[in-house]
Point group: C2
Chain length 134, copies 2
DNA sequence: AGCATTGTTGACGTTTACGTAAACGTGATA
DNA sequence: TATCACGTTTACGTAAACGTCAACAATGCT
């Protein structure tokens, strides 16, 4: 009988779920992002591992390196114990926050352009397809 | 007398302005993103080049590769001439748009976490600094 | 004239994030 | 029992985006 949900996952399951290769998952482990247990020599991934994998992928999508992601994990794990680490953590978060806001601006600018360009394109196409007289 | 503003820039000026190295700028040229003129063997950058450089850097910030940025430039330049290219352009824009929206979500999620973590940290610090008697 | 500054062209080096291939183990199944 | 399907380690390969010399102009002080 177990209180916590103890469903586990194989490397292939996770790979399929997140549409990445097993190789990538092993690579994340090499970089210290995951620490699956072993049943014999096979890796067994817990829910916690799965969450970390999700966070890893999200981190990647917003442009973090694997090392930075690892540092975040480490800080998150240890910050509560050490006061000076807390300051570091806050500083890191601040820096990252401004970067993210910059990215937001960039993305909004591009989305705007993308939108108007699309409209232009579509108008052009309308004109041509409609404009060819028989 | 010239109608169009014809201010030009040296590689060093642009490097300083955008806080990158001349090497990087030359690299962008190698990749077909810039086409500065030459005065003798020195590069002379026009306003158009400067704009392209800005767009390049913005593209990078939102995670485009230099090649993708070049393709966008090319499409942007030629799309008006070719109808089939227009479709390609629109498809490319659509794909990128959904990626950008995904990124927006990711960033929002992270910002949210960052915010609450910061609050947690600050509370902890308050408690400790305030909690030490004398 | 001499030296600093700024620029130029190679060309090899580096980091990140995996891909890919070899060579092998293991349990399920036809 | 043979053959998948899935997993493992080890190790070299690769693409992107520059960094980092080296070796050499051209220009501008002083």
């Amino acid at each position: 009988m177990s209180t916590v949900q103890d469903r586990t996952f194989t490397i292939g399951e996770l790979a399929r779920e997140f549409d990445i290769t097993p190789r990538a998952i092993r690579h994340y482990e090499d970089q210290g992002l995951l620490e699956p247990e072993r049943r014999g020599q096979h890796r067994i991934y817990s829910r916690r591992d799965r969450v970390r994998l999700m966070l890893t992928l999200r981190g990647k999508r917003i442009g973090l390196t694997l090392q930075e992601i690892r540092e975040l994990f480490e800080l998150y794990d240890t910050a509560n114990d050490d006061e000076s680490q807390l300051f570091e953590f806050i500083k890191l978060l601040s820096r990252r926050e401004s970067q993210l806001r910059q990215q937001q601006e960039d993305i909004n600018a591009v989305l705007k352009e993308v939108g108007s360009l699309r409209v232009q394109c579509e108008r052009l196409l309308e004109k041509r397809t409609g404009g060819i007289p028989e």
